[in-house]
Symmetry: C2
């Protein structure tokens, strides 16, 4: 009792200490290209084909020998004979994408022609290869089409499909074990009735699982573990086959807070006490090379730690490439106060072309999350922002 | 032959004409809150409970009668007796989140106390209700927690769970029928070998399906339909139970382009020929109140039309709330040329803190999509952007 945090690590430093101990998994599996969206390529893709695989007409028009069109113009058209093979003075209709017939070396676009019976008036001179897509012009056999580590999008699936691929090797998604701890917790599976005073329905596990899934992990939720070190230890040990472990609750410095001490006992506690508000009691550690995040039990604090540490951790495990951060710039409809020494995670609501901080949004106040569209991070070294100041807004997804 | 587009509608106008004919579906279904992420609430959620449902200690500490702490200070502590019920001069330990015992009206935080045997030294005076969360302080029974139309996030699922909800009513996702058309197409299901000259593997259907899924629709792909008006008509009629129909291919003005005429025959063609490059041959229409998008067969042009028309169409059908657009601002590493009268959809690659337009990225060039990180839209009335100009970059997802 009366214990306080001995130290407080800045968010930046805590994140660095955490990420440098996380190794990208690089375990591969094969998936169908029908389900490859948002997966990461585990190997470069090299084309085994030419695209196009034949000389392709780039326009609707007439395939010709370019030499037959010499000097052709609207005033001085050349007449060619519609034919089924290309010889001197002959032409064949081709539509966009069709194979250019052998013997032809150019296509005259339909707009530069007219037909009179089986004669075609050519009203423009074309040079060899005009309006023809050459074999391999787009993608050549042997071309590296995608590098390892590429994040696959629907348009990439189409590229793979057109190269004849049906399955691709991608990195396995990291398994994230989620262990809710706390004597006060009641499982929603047992009863969704109002629990007795002092008891609450367990919901942080659900929130964590859904975020893990959204961010590219595979959540695995365990039963609720009571507030005692042996039970928590057992639960952690039982989940060391996972790629990351989230311990929810019991991370402060009270007498029922055992999560950080369990991490210390089983492995290495990297950080306990982080300069973010809410979220200060969070702890980060490593057990048997498995990153462990101790999430505060207060839902808003838990959300903060999910965003600040779990998301980047999953991205590193999963080899998700860094993407430029898209930030919304908005002016504040009211001032924000924040505590020096802590990054303030301030929930905000979009309001016309401004954002308004949610009043009275303490870390235990669940409804503040429901109401918030996003959050503003106030740096450690300032006391807040004035009304009207432009701030970076991160949308809560 | 020789037909050209009689008109060309601007992207803005085409989108307006299209969207004003689309009605939001508003068909509801119930889903488990375990799978409610990214769904849209079909009705407001009203809480049937108070949160907290009991007087909750907001701190680890000692529950007291505030009147017993009168005048307490570090220099002048008040001594209270550890007890199992609160009477004058008695106190009970409570941890954060615990029920405050009957008779107590405040909690003294542990940092302001010390224990000596069964005596507790109280070193700070507290006022009534100090460090106590009142019943319903967060959410009151009868409060509207979420409005109809709210997009559900993992944190919202947790809020719903804590209110005792297990299932929620959400809008059904729109079914989007995807009909690939073209005599040149070969189904990947039949053979993934290199097709004969003039034939290509069908892949636009797959790309469309994966984007539809990403954007909140339920894709339903049909077999490939040959280039003849009756077959296309039949395919459209067979899919009028869908909420949107995508016809891929056959949308230009060549002799094998029947998609727009089929739309005209069955319903109403709103737009044919749009001021965007690539993507100009796209057409938009309505058949039996079902929006129909004719996607050009060239993959890049198809992608453009998916982004510019299909995505907003799905969002309107599905009642997905408007979100502020997050735009990346970057300087150009090279100039962009664009055609007056058309919005230029220019594929770009991220390069350090700049973006570089992809050279030679014609609409038939599939590899340009694989290489592109995003796109820049050049307005209709300008010829391009100079090197070094700052542009808005949309990432291709």
């Amino acid at each position: 009792m009366g214990k306080v945090f001995k130290e407080r690590t800045s968010v930046d430093k805590a994140l660095r200490l955490f990420l440098e101990r996380i190794s990208t998994l690089r375990k591969a599996e094969e998936v169908s290209i029908e389900t490859c969206t948002d997966r990461i390529l585990a190997e470069a893709v090299v084309s085994e084909r030419n695209v196009p695989h034949y000389r392709r007409a780039a326009m609707d028009g007439y395939a010709v020998r370019a030499s037959d069109t010499l000097g052709a113009s609207p005033a001085n058209p050349v007449m060619l004979q519609l034919s089924d093979q290309i010889e001197e003075g002959g032409t064949i209709w081709v539509h966009t994408g069709a194979a250019v017939p052998e013997g032809a070396d150019a296509v005259v676009m339909v707009e530069d022609t007219a037909t009179v019976g089986t004669l075609v008036q050519i009203r423009a001179q074309v040079y060899p290869n005009r309006n023809i897509g050459q074999v391999g012009e787009d993608i050549k056999k042997g071309d590296r089409v995608f590098e390892e580590g590429h994040l696959l999008r629907p348009c990439d699936a189409a590229v793979l499909a057109s190269l004849g691929f049906d399955r691709v090797k991608v990195f396995k998604n990291p398994v994230v074990a989620i262990i809710p701890t706390g004597d006060e917790l009641v499982s929603r599976k047992e009863s969704r009735d109002v629990p007795p005073p002092g008891k609450v329905l367990e919901t942080n596990g659900l929130m964590s699982a859904l975020y893990v899934e959204k961010w590219g992990g595979i959540p695995r939720c365990t039963e609720i573990v009571p507030d005692n070190p042996d039970s928590i230890k057992e639960a952690v040990e039982a989940n060391l086959d996972a790629d990351m472990i989230l311990l929810s609750g019991g991370t402060s410095v009270g007498k029922r807070d055992h999560a950080p001490e369990v991490v210390t006992a089983l492995g290495e506690l990297l950080v306990h006490g982080i300069g973010v508000s809410p979220g200060k009691p969070a702890a980060l550690g490593i057990v048997n090379n498995v990153p462990v995040v101790c999430l505060p039990g207060y839902p808003v604090a838990g959300l903060v730690v999910l965003y600040l540490f779990v998301r980047p951790g999953i991205r590193k495990l999963a080899a998700i490439p860094e993407a430029p951060e898209l930030i919304l710039k908005r002016r504040l409809a009211a001032k924000i106060s924040s505590r020096i020494g802590y990054i303030g995670f301030v929930r905000v609501v979009l309001e016309d072309d401004k954002v308004r901080p949610l009043a009275g949004a303490r870390s235990g106040i669940l409804s503040s999350v429901a109401k918030a569209d996003g959050y503003v991070l106030v740096p450690e070294n300032i006391e807040g922002y004035a009304e009207g100041e432009e701030v970076d807004v991160f949308l809560i997804e």
